[in-house]
Amino acid sequence: MRFAGVMLAVAAKDLRCELRGKELLPALTQFVVLSLVIAGFAFDLDASSGPRLSPGILWLVLVFAGLLAFGRTFAAERDVGSLEAMLLTPAGAPAIFAGKALGATVLLVACEAVLLPAMAVFLASPISPAVVATVLLATVGMAWLGCLFAALAAQTRARELLLPVLALPLWIPFVVVGSRAVQVAMSGGGFGAWAPAGQPYAVLLDFDILFLVVSSLAARFVLDD
């Protein structure tokens, strides 16, 4: 249970710092809203095209918000040398990483709490519980992977360049499957549709499990020497 204790302590610390610092969350929220406004003009959205293009816009905004969030979470630690300080305790790299990833997930979810209602308002997207569930399912996997690569990129010379290069290809499966799942959900298929249309959910879950395990195993090698 030491693992859980450390993970929760690290996540709580990150969230507390964020609530006090108030740097990332306002920036993310601003980014989200602005993106939607720009999308509205750029795609010339109206009552019919809004819902149709919603899944795509959703993932586009989510991906870039994610890059922003994960990049920052490790950059901040690096500035004060606190990542090393955490590692020089018996807490262990896997638990510390899990805590960082959990914190980043919560931040991204907070972002989504702004994004999804905003989409319902600006783009007339049909946001249903199934859509929310799909987004949350994908967020977990994307966050864990994103954090791993953020931790990796933070140790290199060109971290802003490297994070997208590493994370985007591996996020593609999430985006593709998630997009299909959101399409299904938005066109009215709820959880009941476990027929061929239900497959995307299962695939997302598989991805989540796979990448969670892989990231956790890799964390030790990325964070610590």
């Binding site: 450390v6 302590a9 710092c17 004060v80 090393e84 590692l87 020089l88 305790t89």
Partner: protein, 241 residues
Amino acid sequence: MIAVRARGLVQRFGDRVVLGPLDLELAAGERLAVLGDNGAGKTTLLRLLATAARPAAGRLELLGVEATRERERLRARLGYVGHQLGLYPALTALENLEFFARLHGLGRERARPALETVGLGGVAHRRLEQLSRGQQQRLALARSVLHDPELLVLDEPDASLDAEGRDLLGALFEGRSVVMATHDLALARGLCHRALRLRAGREAGDPWGAPRAGGPSVRPREGAGPVPLPNGRAAGARALG
């Protein structure tokens, strides 16, 4: 017990050897001052001793354990203060210590006494970013002894401390083995038993800055046995709290 045993320690960055080969031995309870100009390799050596980095070659044993094995257990017995504080600006002094206590698997109640020990009891609820540099340094020192480590590795801990803060160091060192890098020769003489001077990553022969009879200082002392500490107590009797 030998606190630190290093044989042929080497560190390199790319194709440049920045430290070594270096031999070093520190008995339990001994205090070693690491002296030298900037760039001589002091920080590199200290980071190796704190397990913050892996050596490129050589053998390193800390507290009887090979340094690259069981690092998590070793780190529970080591304390380190480097150039960066490693503390969170947005958290209060108390919250910072409570967090690290959690990471060490200790109860949060350990934080308050540690704060008092370094004289920061009065600013417990002030955020780190609102403290002076000297106060922040004291907090980092408090964090390094939170878990009552056997070996303390400090990289220029006196850098931002006032006279009162420097007196503090002696109290914190009590009962522990210490490796401390510093530019302050007087402080080093007052607090430490021995000195190691580095020059271009290698041991230089004049540790205290003046010729000394009896050969280089880092040969192991003749005869094992507890090292008498300045206050008369023997090492091994670790002070609590």
